[in-house]
Subunit: 296 residues, 4 copies
């Protein structure tokens, strides 16, 4: 028998995820900061909660998908937040990408009320959210992972339990370190190719299939060659996640040299007002240094 | 009607490539600096030349596959080198990875004797050489690329004509910038994962299929998790290629920030005597800084 | 006629500064988190306050010298803090090195009670504090700078009004960027010298007087050559200040490449348990990478 | 009794040095690639040689001061070079800044003809050359240093024997690592100051006297604040020396992280056509990244 579900945060990602839960016939109560987004979900069969606390009071499992650490703090710990309304024995599943340390602090406060929490950040973009093909990285108790699994399977395709409380968030940051490393070296490589007078498309074709190949190169390389800066993931969001990486690396005492370099380069693009462009626009940070343009 | 072929340089890569030419029934004359390697080729049907000049004098197309810039200079321009014996109208195809600028200088000297040259560096490892599945990036005249194509197809699978003289070498360096960028960020990411207490194999599983995915992560990530440092490509060879990148970037006037960082890190591993290990051992350069070991 | 003074924070720096105010015959009420330090000041003529609020209630000008941003927040905004006791028309002078942004926030809260604030971070070490030869960088209103000047002159020698509210903190961070830049290049230079087989002391002698010269090289270079890691300023404190620089650079949208590099290197030394050593031990971060020791 | 002297290379530095030798009444034979510069020396009492070989044949001690490694190779090993004319028992003193390794190779060839060599690179700018106040860093045999000393004292003020053959060149590179480290952090610091809204001149005043102080900050900081890019030492020359540092660090197996960063930044300025500006213009490399101008 299905548990009663709640969903808080109906942005680009959250909306698709909530719709996928509804499609499986689950009972779903939703809330969003700006209420206009709620209507579409209600039209699809959801009920509307008045506040995160209200949603939590009506749910066995509460899914959260908001932007940043302070947003999760607000909807869980703030006034009329999840913590006020949640029932003992309930489960909170947080899909936001936030600080692994803050995740543990929030979990501790929920635990004190008899509530379990999983951190379950996602990747895969809005297509993944819409199609139910997200990657979901989960930290927390194995039994609770099992409890959430039927619902997670409605939203994601690669669902991995990577470790204890906070491990999901850490794995997401691992993901971001990797993305940014391939991104910045792609920028450097394409500037080198341009300056060498290479045909960019043929060069991408030549190198994408071998040891230099990556998702980034196959998907964003051709965009760079055409100077198409439409975002899969914006520089502003990337920079937010890199800030989490640098903060966590500092707390862990680990070096983060490529991430620091990428962070400095992305920051210059934000200063130039380009934070809304795709994260593959990192190449512009290098172009600006030498007044050369790839693909022109 | 098939042209007469020569092959100079029967190392790990060259041997497999030459064998693939023989398998197609081509007439092949070979030479190697240490003659022991020649015997295996002769047993497979090749004839042995006395010197690069001798091979060149008997060939319409001379393939070269040696290690570094000075090696190509030696076998082409040195005593009893290709330049001494080569026939007007012949074609030289250089599969070595060397400086794009030196490539152009050597080509100019061959051109002056009525000889054409293609730079055609390869990637794909010894398996690729053995199986005839190499990636080959070619710079030079289109008609000559067409002339060489039937023979290149015996050795490689992805064969791309990327531009004029030297463009093949430049594309290979583009390849190396990309490889090294994914490699160094993989090191940083796996150290972060270890310090975060993540299960490394589950984490690799969770992130390899999405936007963070790369050939490097899929092929070398599991090796790092098991501390298996057997090389697909050694640190020493990687460092040689990065030196070419940095030299070329300097000449082009382009920034090479990630490559410089990787170069500094790899250098420390060479200083510690680890140059023979695989290039995924870059993670050790970071581990040494904090006395932490991934996967232990 | 002299104003009544208060001093909060009697650590290594604060104690010397407070004693210098007493020597000039000023009326001084003091407070420290651990009360043992108060006795020495009382013996020298100070009166003891019960809390920051108590000190503030008895003072026209309140000097603060504590460690970090949260410490200033605690003694000003916390329970029984300065804000509770301070009189309208009073002046608060903060000698701590903290976030320029938090400085402005605290000043705004004091202003709302009719209290002025100057940010006045210091440099010059404990000798400077003891001898009254500190450098003091001041941000805030010019009239208040004039009001504080007679007392600042008892504590410092180079006293500069660099701009508006927060500018003193920003100037201190400028100072730290410069210190760290000379420090990390000194480490790199001395490792290079060692590996080149140079006589370190003669080399320092040869280069210190010219264009390569710096306070760091003259004062810390000889320490490095003798592997004397006693701190003028510890790695832990340096790292705290670099964290402020990186945070501020992020808010300003400016690149901070050398600071990021130094931050990563210092962090590794903290991870190895060396945070209590002098900031010139940065050279060890480089030594550890290649297992070479300068001066051995 | 004075030895007969030769001087090869009468550029900005060499001219002043040769004039200082003449002022002390020494017998001096000179040569320069472009002969116009010779006339001024002849007017001051020198004799003109026809070639480096000619100068060497008439001299007991031959001083050389040219630009780069290939220039020293040309005037010593080239046609009509020093090696052709030099007398057994003579001493060659090379004031150029070149590769420590090439220095050793050239010395070996001179030694084979019974000729000693000292590497004696200089710093101190054209004022130092004119006023006889250069710093001279010497590598080589102590007895030969003693032999050269009376003449070196006519040209320099801080004269230091730092070690064996090549050590002078290595010490000069140490000098350049330090210069560049203070230079790049000064750029970062002044950009931070500008973005923070600080008064640049007051900030320089506040920080120059303490732990952040350096020759660079005192001499080039005020130039940056006024956007005065006239060179003490040009970016092109600085870049040439950094190339020597990076090459030597590679051979020594040592990390060179700050130097790599500075090299990348300077390179961008060369690409933009600013190589003739002073090396303090490094700040422009950072300004270009964010479209901000210090001091405007």
């Amino acid at each position: 028998m299905s548990e009663k579900l709640g969903f808080i945060g109906l942005g680009i990602m959250g909306k698709g995820m909530a719709l996928n839960l509804l499609k499986k016939g689950h009972d779903l109560c939703v809330w969003n900061r700006t209420s206009s987004k709620v209507d579409e979900l209600v039209a699809a069969g959801a009920t509307a909660g008045n506040s995160p606390a209200d949603v939590a009071s009506k749910s066995d499992i509460v899914f959260i998908c908001v932007s940043d650490t302070p947003d999760v703090e607000a909807v869980v710990l703030g006034e009329s937040g999840v913590l006020e309304g949640v029932k003992s024995g309930a489960l909170v599943v947080d899909h936001s990408t936030i600080s692994p340390q803050v995740t543990k602090e929030i979990a501790a406060k929920l635990n004190a009320k008899g509530v379990e929490m999983l951190d379950a950040p996602i990747s895969g973009g809005n297509e993944g959210a819409a199609n139910g093909t997200l990657s979901i990285m989960i930290g927390g108790d194995a039994a609770q992972v099992g409890r959430a699994m039927p619902y997670l399977e409605a939203m994601g395709k690669t669902i991995t339990h990577v470790g204890a409380q906070g491990a999901g968030q850490s794995a997401k940051l691992v993901n971001q370190i990797l993305v940014i490393g391939t991104m910045v070296s792609m920028g450097e490589a394409m500037l080198f190719a341009e300056a060498s007078g290479l045909d960019l498309e043929k060069t991408l074709e030549a190198v994408s299939g071998g040891a230099a190949g990556s998702w980034t190169l196959s998907n964003r390389g051709p965009q760079v060659a055409k100077r198409d800066w439409r975002p899969g993931f914006t520089i502003d969001l990337q920079q937010k996640d890199l800030r989490l990486v640098l903060e966590a690396a500092d707390q862990l005492g680990m070096p983060a040299m490529t991430t620091s370099l990428a962070f400095n380069l992305y920051r210059t693009l934000q200063t130039l007002g380009l934070g809304h462009e795709g994260n593959h626009a990192i190449v512009k940070a290098l172009e600006n240094m030498v007044d050369v343009r790839v693909g022109e």
